[in-house]
Subunit: 456 residues, 2 copies
Amino acid sequence: MTEKKIPYKIYLEECEMPQVWYNLRADMQNKPAPLLDPQTKQPMTVKELSNVFCEELAKQELDDQTRFIPIPQEIQEFYKMFRPSPLMRAYRLEEKLQTPAKIYYKFEGNNTSGSHKLNSALAQAYYAKQQGLKGVTTETGAGQWGTALSMACSYFDLDCKVYMVKVSYEQKPFRREVMRTYGASVVPSPSTETEVGRKILAEHPGTTGSLGCAISEAVEKAVTTEGYRYVLGSVLNQVLLHQSIIGLETKAALDKYGIKADIIIGCAGGGSNLGGLIAPFMGEKLRKEADYRIIAVEPASCPSFTRGIYAYDYCDTGKVCPLSKMYTLGSGFIPAPNHAGGLRYHGMSSTLSQLYHDGYMEAVAVPQTTIFESAELFCRTEGILPAPESSHAIHVAIQEALKCKEQNDAKTIVFGLTGTGYFDMYAYEKFHNGKMEDYIPTEEELQASFAKIPKI
Amino acid sequence: MTEKKIPYKIYLEECEMPQVWYNLRADMQNKPAPLLDPQTKQPMTVKELSNVFCEELAKQELDDQTRFIPIPQEIQEFYKMFRPSPLMRAYRLEEKLQTPAKIYYKFEGNNTSGSHKLNSALAQAYYAKQQGLKGVTTETGAGQWGTALSMACSYFDLDCKVYMVKVSYEQKPFRREVMRTYGASVVPSPSTETEVGRKILAEHPGTTGSLGCAISEAVEKAVTTEGYRYVLGSVLNQVLLHQSIIGLETKAALDKYGIKADIIIGCAGGGSNLGGLIAPFMGEKLRKEADYRIIAVEPASCPSFTRGIYAYDYCDTGKVCPLSKMYTLGSGFIPAPNHAGGLRYHGMSSTLSQLYHDGYMEAVAVPQTTIFESAELFCRTEGILPAPESSHAIHVAIQEALKCKEQNDAKTIVFGLTGTGYFDMYAYEKFHNGKMEDYIPTEEELQASFAKIPKI
């Protein structure tokens, strides 16, 4: 049988787009552990979660039974403005590597927010609007989530308040201006606007902030302001649910051409992209309908899967959020200041944590100078300048393709290219000038951080 | 007859992509005036031009007879990495404006170079490689062309030397780093590397450079270095030829849905996008097969069509390039330092100049604060953060749509969205902070500049 000629880009027609999200938890025998109230240590109810999250999103957060959740018509319409995203065949990279492997990547950087984060931002803004809210609050580190949410809020005419980790606010003024262009209000965190912010500033006057601190501020602002709720761009079950559109489209595009993936690779910070990309494949694996190697790639400077411990931990510095059972480095862990891009959260999605714990996926940690080498190679062959986050997946895809070359094995590799690196040129500049360094936490540092994880 | 439902994005299939470029000049009764040798003032021959340009490109430059020129197979393959580009229906903008007009835009920012410039960069790099050259030189101002060429040269494994206007080199370090990521060598202009650069530096020690000066340096470097030629991203006939792919795809997508455009709008600097977008429509107009209103939009700070004179003029400050007959503000004209983005060239494509002179198109000049207002409106409704250049076309499209509203007239408006504004956030920041100013040259300034145009 001759192979059907695969185009550079596989686009689905609009009519072929998924009309439901896939809820991976429904197919898990060992469900992810429930969120716990930080005070009572009891599982959170929808009602309790609804003080922080929009009600519909709180329901999605706790629903581990419904396999398919219809995507509301209005969200489907918005998705059509930038989806389906292309599944690209990396012909030029394959040629460069002289590998028999077939490499595909799902490119999610094809919208002005520049990353996959828009998939969940639109959904969360939609439900906030449905509930009649006035606005939402959130945090952002590298800025992708804040950008995506600002964009989504401008679509739905919602106020958007973004607590941006101070070091990013200062070092990434252009990210900030993108958010302002979409009409968001952007505040450097820690700020004097919240109690938790003032407390942190009093204790650490010179602090440049952290994601955990910005989360605490955003949550406090949401629960103390009439008509506001908090939204989050990663880690949560609801986010993975929305991001399943990535995997569903990928699978539909592969199926359209009769392609069976062997290895699926995604970068992993809180798990939003990885969880979305792998969802339908993992579902088949859980149901024993097919088998795949699934690989999570994380930065060596923030290695929650590969060096963290699996335990209940706080999601934020201020300990105002529910506790989540996950692979964690401890809620006080902050990656070294030279760490470029995102993937800087101390914990990991509880769903992915459970799956990893149960042996359904592999994980690998890679230092950033290595990542940027692969990013540059990819850029010069495939023409897309990747975000540092995405380059983690690129790197491991290249490694696997080189293994295929050694073994003369024509495996099919699929990886997630979550976004573009336009706003990370400062890091690229350091790399070009030979000034990028790696920092890998020592065992002692990790142990000290682990010691602060609560015993539950 | 019911209207066929038009999707948000009209994508052509790869097999529907144009396989030829359309050479608009073939259908012009009044051909654009020939390029003249700056010394002898005689029309340049292919042989003479081949000292500066690749031979095949020199042929394309002078060919005003061949209507269709096949796109080499290899270029077609490269185009498939980012083309066809989507033709978008601006449903949300229409709704926001409450206009009966139907607005479409051809989005060319969908590749890492971020603009339409890649269409010609790939073609020019291809012909350079075919000729066995070692590398190419060019200039860049706002950086879009330099980025596109760097990307194209990395595809074809060619050296790429970019003279970047010094003020941009310093103010846009990230643009510079993108080019370096693709492997280009980037030099601030004026430099001490060339005779013309040293001369300009001696005469104007504090100069921050200009496009005209960077062109002179790039040309000198090309003609004095073995195995190098010069390439240019706008103004030239060959560039308009390559960019015709924009218009051909646009027309094919409209035809696919039985849509007839009424008004076609493009921003105009040197004319690369405008000339490409309008090509097949203008062809029909020239052949009297259809009629369209065609509108060029230029910055009020660099108004070559609307306030320039139609005359032979130098293309560069150093007067090393051929003379071109065009609408020009004088080769010494430099837009005010606060001018954001590109569209800063003193002249205009000779093809477009002839067509404008003959009454086949309209032109309008708009001040930049007005442009950024429309850019922000567009960003918040359509979700794409536009380049300042593209926002010129957006602005006039909005104006025309509002006229349709007044007159209750459901016209079909098509405009070119040439690129994204990721690297223009400094300008957006000034706009947000109310610090953006307009500067419109006075009549006296223009007259002083006109006085230096040679009498030919």
